[in-house]
Symmetry: C2
Subunit: 155 residues, 2 copies
């Protein structure tokens, strides 16, 4: 289990993954050595999965984000999931409860590309029976800090 110092470390790394160990140690109130050891331990324990870069989808050319609820034929779920993992425009995919079997989040350059994506690519993935598309008009909130969420949940 993570203690309060670990959570402070994780929160700081979620805010800025490129912070130096010197700054990180100062921010959490430790000296460099134990701070470094805790980060390594968090990596080894799988709490920290890796370090990534936040990209602005619009700045790189993606004007459209959409959510798609997908119902499939479960006999080919493995093939469907493999195809989802391979498709570059599918950002995220969850198996969900409810009316649909999966929830997908996709990006496309524009509406024309979204239309092509839906008609020519998504509908042809293995086992797809029905799709319901909802456009993301605006992002209100991006990713949260899990460490801060944990501090709230465990209060």
């Amino acid at each position: 289990m993570l203690d309060a110092l670990d959570r402070k470390i994780v929160a700081a790394l979620e805010r800025d993954a490129r912070v130096s160990f010197g700054e990180l140690a100062e921010a959490v109130g430790l000296s460099k050595t134990p701070c470094w050891k805790r980060v390594k331990a968090l990596e080894d324990a799988g709490v920290i999965r890796g370090y990534s870069t936040r990209i602005d989808p619009a700045a790189i050319g993606f004007g459209i984000e959409a959510f798609i609820q997908v119902s499939i034929d479960f006999e080919v779920s493995d093939a469907f999931e493999a195809a989802v993992k391979k498709h570059p425009l599918i950002r995220r995919c969850y198996a969900t409860t409810g009316e649909a079997d999966y929830l997908l989040q996709i990006v496309t350059v524009d509406m024309r590309a979204l239309d092509r994506m839906l008609r020519e690519e998504l509908s042809r993935l293995p086992g797809v029976r029905r799709t319901v598309t909802s456009m993301a008009m605006r992002e209100i909130k991006g990713d949260i800090s899990f460490a801060e969420a944990a501090a709230h949940a465990l209060r």
Copy 2:
């Protein structure tokens, strides 16, 4: 607009935000200085929004992930959105087209906490009229590389 080298840089940074400039330069086939300059330019242009850490929600104590479609009274949309931004357990929020007005992704420790979250917190946010909850049973795909998506979309 980003050229092929910029996209390679972004792809490498999305894979590992803590890669050294030496390794990054070698990976994209540049020497360190121009590589460093391109990264700074990408940061200044807002293409790179920041560097973050991927955390395993389960490892930090969140056993439940859920999607919630929320319909609200638009007269208080500003207050609703402000409350959403402040709530630590709401990971993501998009304003969407379709039956509901917003799509939220939340995390909770367990089912009991999800029940409390829905009944005592979400339903009391400003203007909330109706919620439809769908559990995320399994994550098929996490975040993609936008740089690789762009390479696909612009082919």
